[in-house]
């Protein structure tokens, strides 16, 4: 057991623990890539990792890649193809087991907004956001097509909203069977992993509830930082702290210390 780790590192390790050996997996740039390659370095050596640019077989060298097509990945790839291939043939088709995406805002049904922040609801007429964000990228394609996906997000009340103002990447939409009715190939978000804990969807309502908290957080802190009346699972428990092996593996991947800033 180690207490010398950051909240971001705990989030990355908790996310990585969701990845199983042998899975076909897609990671975006940044934190999700660190979590994914941590899993590969620690407990899932056979994970078949790809990026949405169609860069296959690569392991990052020299620190966190600046982008999914960065030379830090191009340096040891065994295949370069295309977006159509990676996001289309391997993700939207339904073949991809698991994806990891980030969020600026996420709501109680796991819908993600990465498009913009408006001053209140957008209204009927579409208008420019007060703050423009990065748009959908490949996250929408992962959210629509991957068998399951994980959402990694810093746990703050302004990010955990009752209803996102813009659905960039669909979670369970309005809950219940609304996602099923929309006809997506993929199964939807299986967990929201935050800097404070882990949320999972109720199997019927598909509303996310608190499943577990970290050793340094707790139910009260999580409720105070969630913008809806978050339900707490009856068996909510503490997530095991990172083992020394896990931390060592993560830090080998996070060579430039992105998660310790």
């Amino acid at each position: 057991m180690s207490t010398d780790y950051s909240r971001q590192e705990m989030m990355a390790i908790a996310t990585g623990r969701e990845i199983r050996d042998g899975e076909l997996a897609i990671f975006g740039v940044g934190l999700s890539m660190l979590a994914g390659y941590f899993a590969q370095a620690h407990h899932a050596p056979g994970v078949r990792a790809m990026t949405e640019g169609g860069v296959y077989g690569a392991r990052p060298v020299g620190g966190l890649p600046w982008g999914i097509e960065c030379n830090r990945l191009a340096v040891n790839a065994v295949s370069f193809t295309s977006a159509l291939d990676a996001l289309g043939c391997l993700v939207a088709s339904g073949r991809c087991d698991v994806g990891i995406i980030g969020a600026a805002q996420v709501d109680r049904f796991g819908n993600v907004n990465t498009t913009g922040i408006w001053d209140g609801p957008i209204g009927t007429r579409y208008r420019p956001p007060k703050t423009r964000l990065t748009g959908a990228g490949g996250a929408n394609d992962i959210a629509c097509g991957a068998k399951r996906y994980l959402i990694m997000v810093s746990h703050e009340a302004k990010r955990f909203v009752d209803r996102v103002s813009y659905v960039t990447s669909p979670g369970f939409l309005d809950g219940g069977d609304t996602r099923e009715q929309a006809g997506f190939v993929g199964g939807g978000p299986s967990a929201i992993i935050t800097t404070l804990g882990v949320l999972r969807p109720d199997p019927q309502t598909h509303e996310f509830q608190l499943d577990a908290y970290f050793a340094f957080s707790g139910v009260d802190e999580i409720l105070a930082n969630t913008g809806w009346d978050l339900k707490v699972a009856a068996d909510a428990r503490v997530v095991p702290e990172p083992s020394p092996e896990e931390l060592a593996a993560l830090r080998r991947v996070d060579e430039t210390g992105m998660l310790r800033r």
Binding site: V29, G30, E52, G53, G54, V55, V61, G62, L64, P65, W66, G67, I68, E69, C70, N71, R72, A74, V75, F80, T81, S82, A83, L84, L87, G88, V91, A92, N111, T115, I122, T124, R125, Y126, P128, P129, K130, T131, R132, L133, T134, G135, A136, G137, G138, A139, N140, D141, C144, G145, Y166, V167, T168, S169, P170, R179, A182, G183, F184, V185
Partner: protein
């Protein structure tokens, strides 16, 4: 023996671009290959009111948006990946100077494929059920919008799917690693959507880091994903993707990526950037001087330089590539 297609950058922009056109570029995401120098030349020749089709934002779109040359844009990802938000693009959107139509990264590739195949539409199993489908920036008053990604019935299953509109941009400026004088091209690194784009665009101009003898293409014909028969012109321009990376050729210029994005975060900064990095050079050698010969040497000695090894024997020397270009202008 077909005539070679090498022309100067200035001539390519003069010949193939105009105000109000649909201009496509943005080849391989915000950190990788992109014909960024073509965008600099668009500004030097004061092209306006462009409708930009960028699969993903790059520093090129960021610059064109900041400088006010783009009024409409369609793209998937609109940030700069590890380098943060694209300050020029985001400011133009927030201020209402540029209307951005949002899609996902797969959607843009599929729409280019649809254009390439001349399909009436492309079935959409992504972007449906989200605000990418319901919100249409080009038609803001209609909500939920039925015209951006209309729902259609799958004739086989009877289920509802979406329909993407195909893209057929007037021009694509495509960055490639290697081109021969006839426009056959090899791309190192992910091709992202350059294959589809080269078939979807009405015209294609290549920006090549290096010119090679056609024997190189005959040695590796499987790797020539853009053949000369779909290419109008070739521009020889090393570091055309700078400050972004070109796998095999050079790494990303981290310092300039950051400084450029900071500059594009304000009107004054943008004006200074355009003065110093768009209008300041007279020709290719002046441009390379501007980047700095030391920087060029450092960035060229990156870990991916080995990717170029199989092709080195066919690389035309700098002076020879310039001479071929000059021959065409004479």
């Amino acid at each position: 023996m077909p005539a070679h297609k090498l022309i100067t950058l200035a001539e390519a922009v003069r010949r193939y671009t105009w105000d109000g056109m649909q201009y496509a570029s943005g080849a391989a995401l915000p950190v990788g290959s992109d014909a960024i120098v073509f965008g600099r030349e668009l500004l030097r020749q004061q092209r306006r009111d462009l409708h930009a089709i960028f699969h993903a934002n790059t520093q090129q779109l960021n610059l064109l948006a900041a400088a006010g040359a783009v009024t409409q844009a369609e793209c998937g990802f609109s940030g700069l990946e590890g380098f943060g938000f694209a300050n020029g693009l985001r400011r133009a959107i927030e201020q209402g100077r540029l209307v951005l139509e949002d899609f996902s990264n797969l959607a843009m590739a599929l729409r280019l494929l649809g254009g390439a195949l001349n399909w009436p539409f492309v079935p959409a199993t992504v972007n449906i059920g989200s605000d990418l489908q319901y919100r249409r920036a080009f038609e803001p008053d209609v909500h939920p919008n039925p015209n951006k990604i209309p729902s259609v019935t799958d004739p086989f299953s009877g289920k509802q799917v979406g329909a993407f509109s195909p893209l057929r941009p007037d021009l694509a400026a495509i960055h490639v690693t290697l081109a021969d004088p006839e426009g056959n091209a090899i791309m190192l690194g992910t091709e992202w959507s350059r294959f589809e784009l080269s078939r979807a665009a009405k015209r294609v101009v290549l920006l090549a880091d290096a010119i090679v003898d056609t024997d190189c293409m005959r040695q590796y014909p499987n790797l020539v994903r853009i053949p000369g028969i779909v290419v109008e012109a070739v521009v020889y321009w090393p570091f055309a993707a700078w400050p972004q990376a070109s796998p095999g050729m050079h790494d990303v210029d981290e310092a300039h990526m950051k400084a450029m994005n900071v500059a594009l975060g304000s009107d004054d900064g943008t004006a200074a950037y355009v003065r110093d990095y768009v209008e300041s050079y007279a020709d290719l050698d002046g441009y390379l001087d501007l980047i700095g010969r030391e920087t060029i040497s450092e960035l060229s000695n990156g870990a991916t330089a080995f990717l170029l090894d199989p092709y080195r024997r066919w690389l035309l020397p700098h002076a020879e590539a310039l001479a071929l270009t000059a021959e065409a202008s004479a």
